[in-house]
């Protein structure tokens, strides 16, 4: 198609003595619109249209089985405020997200600093730490479910050293922590390599200058390394926070939201309401809540960057 445009655009076709209509600039613009059309149409059809619809649906009482679709105004939002499960769901979501982000970033930074030492074999260790990222999510989750069973591998190992381990995924105190840990090990490698790239970008002269000034390793880390890699910390924390709010498969396979509602995070609750209880209107309301949380957290992190991210372009 673009070839046809090029041909009609060739100056040979235009009448002699007149400025050709198809100037380079015009042709460029046309190409640009053609190039962005698939992406834009896709974003409109599969991101923005459903986003508008989800708000519209949240104003309806809509049960697929009963085939009802009635405008009820803010009724679903009142239901949300009265739903006794909602505080527990929000608590579980916050617990999961905070636990995941803190542990993930701390461990990723630790691993990156270790791999940034002048040691032989760091490439080998980098491959090992990264490998869970490429193991399929369900395979990883299933094998951890197997390991964390009451009579599973972890308790077998603990038994060997005389410790009676809990039923990790079935007791309220450990279920959520277990899900967090499983997910940390799954994806920490991604943040690790981003941190590693950032660490390798810190100019060596700065370290040498600081050492000459008599700064200790901890001071150097806090005063030089951390500020210089703060843009990466911002980026990884945004990605990790948004990702943590999307967790579904791990919950669905490991705990099904239980015991009780202790691991029922927002996406899982949304799925239950919409696709198990067929309350689509209420499911849409929960989707709106999820969207607002993602939006608020991203805006908050972006605002906070002024206070702690070092260099900005």
């Amino acid at each position: 198609m673009t070839d046809v445009l090029d041909r009609t655009a060739s100056p040979v076709r235009s009448a002699p003595g007149r400025r050709p209509f198809w100037t380079t600039r015009r042709r460029d613009q046309l190409t640009a619109y053609a190039f962005i059309t698939p992406a834009l149409l896709g974003a409109l059809a599969f991101v923005f249209l459903p986003l508008v619809l989800v708000v519209w649906y949240s104003l309806h009482e809509w049960n697929v089985l009963a085939d009802t679709f009635n405008f009820v105004g803010a009724e679903n939002y009142r239901k949300l405020a009265d739903d006794p499960n909602v505080p527990a769901v929000l608590r579980a979501t916050a617990f999961f997200s905070i636990g995941l982000v803190v542990l993930n970033l701390a461990l990723a930074l630790l691993l990156a600093v270790l791999l940034n030492q002048k040691l032989r074999g760091t490439t080998f260790f980098r491959v090992l730490f990264f490998s869970p990222v490429v193991v399929s999510l369900l395979a990883w989750t299933i094998v951890w479910g197997f390991l964390l069973q009451d009579n599973g591998g972890l308790n077998g190992l603990l038994d060997a050293i005389g410790i009676d381990g809990p039923n990790w995924l079935r007791s309220g105190g450990t279920a959520m922590a277990s899900v967090v840990i499983v997910q940390v090990f799954k994806n920490v490698g991604l943040n690790m390599v981003l941190f590693l790239a950032a660490l390798q970008g810190v100019p060596q002269e700065l370290y040498e200058a600081a050492r000459t000034d008599g700064a200790g390793p901890w001071t150097i880390f806090r005063r030089i390394t951390l500020p210089l890699i703060s843009p990466t910390i911002l980026l990884t924390s945004i990605i990790t926070v948004v990702g943590s709010l999307q967790v579904f498969a791990q919950i669905s396979v490991l705990t099904q939201g239980g015991p009780g509602t202790s691991t029922t995070v927002l996406v899982y609750y949304l799925y239950q309401q919409a696709f198990q209880f067929h309350a689509f209107g209420y499911g849409a309301t929960l989707s709106v809540v999820l969207f607002l949380i993602v939006l608020a957290l991203t805006v908050l992190q972006w605002q906070m960057r002024k206070r702690w991210v070092f260099h900005e372009h």
């Binding site: 992406a39 991101v47 649906y57 030492q117 040691l119």
Partner: protein, 274 residues
């Protein structure tokens, strides 16, 4: 660095490796254990049983499900590469009216996870008669949120290309489409690689969408199929489930080990460097 520091660092690295490597090791070795032995904490099967690996195929149309996941992931990856590289190039290298507004629109798309829109999307696909087909699993990732991220990454890459290259090509009489195809795309190989890897993994791991959209066993994708080995009448067939899990993990792991530099450095240096 003193020997003692080195020994200490290696010790720390080895201990830290355990939770990363051990589960995969356990998954693969346990898949060869006979069911009676499955809960023994041994790191190696006492006798190798290939029975679980065979059962994977008799309990479910696993080859078909494998094919489903593979072809969907390939189509999504190729489609995303085309859509995202074209849009990313236009946003980065061409000045056009509405550019900033439209790019802002794309950026906003980054804030909307597909979980938010699953209810209306289900409704849309239902009214199109596309529920229980693979279309939602192909169209949404290829054109929806993950593709938006890919567009952003490609734009960030193309913006770093030196303008002289394009000027020179223009002097030689190349039009925009030709410059894109012959100059920009070949230079973008590392970024395209990174986008391809994360798009493939995203599609390969997709779980909520298949659970919502697909109900016919022969149309299942792998993540969905993997969870179905538990409900067998003989109780939980862990070794069969772990065999199936191994089969989904091993091919990707092999590709990763062979091309680990491209995987890791591609993602680290071009992928998300913003």
């Amino acid at each position: 660095m003193s020997i003692r520091t080195k020994v200490f660092l290696y010790g720390v690295l080895l201990v830290l490796c355990v939770p990363f490597v051990f589960p995969t090791w356990w998954m693969i070795t346990s898949s060869f254990k006979p069911n009676a032995e499955i809960f023994s904490p041994s790191l190696w099967p006492s006798s190798w049983s290939f029975e679980p690996w065979r059962q994977v195929f008799t309990m479910q149309p696993f080859a078909q499900q494998y094919f489903n996941s593979a072809y969907i992931a390939v189509v999504v990856t190729l489609g995303t590469l085309v859509v995202a590289s074209m849009a990313g190039y236009a946003f980065a290298r061409i000045r056009f009216r509405g550019q900033n507004v439209l790019f802002l629109l794309v950026l906003t798309g980054l804030l909307i996870p597909s979980e938010v829109t699953i209810v209306p999307l289900f409704r849309i696909f239902n009214s199109l008669g596309l529920v229980d087909t693979h279309w939602p699993l192909i169209l949404v990732p290829m054109l929806g949120p993950p593709s938006v991220l890919a567009t952003f990454i490609m734009r960030q890459f193309f913006i770093t290309l030196p303008g002289e290259l394009e000027e020179a090509a223009r002097m030689d009489g190349l039009g925009r489409p030709a410059i894109f195809r012959r100059i920009a795309l070949p230079l973008a190989r590392p970024a395209l690689g990174a986008v391809a890897i994360f798009t493939f993994l995203h599609s390969w791991n997709l779980y909520l969408e298949p659970v919502v959209y697909i109900s016919t066993r022969t149309k299942y994708t792998l993540p969905q199929a993997l969870t179905q080995f538990t409900d067998a009448y003989q109780g939980q067939l862990w070794n069969v489930q772990l065999s199936a899990a191994s089969m989904t993990a091993i091919p990707v792991l092999i590709v990763f080990v062979l091309a680990q530099r491209q995987f890791i450095e591609g993602l680290a240096h071009t992928g998300l460097k913003g």
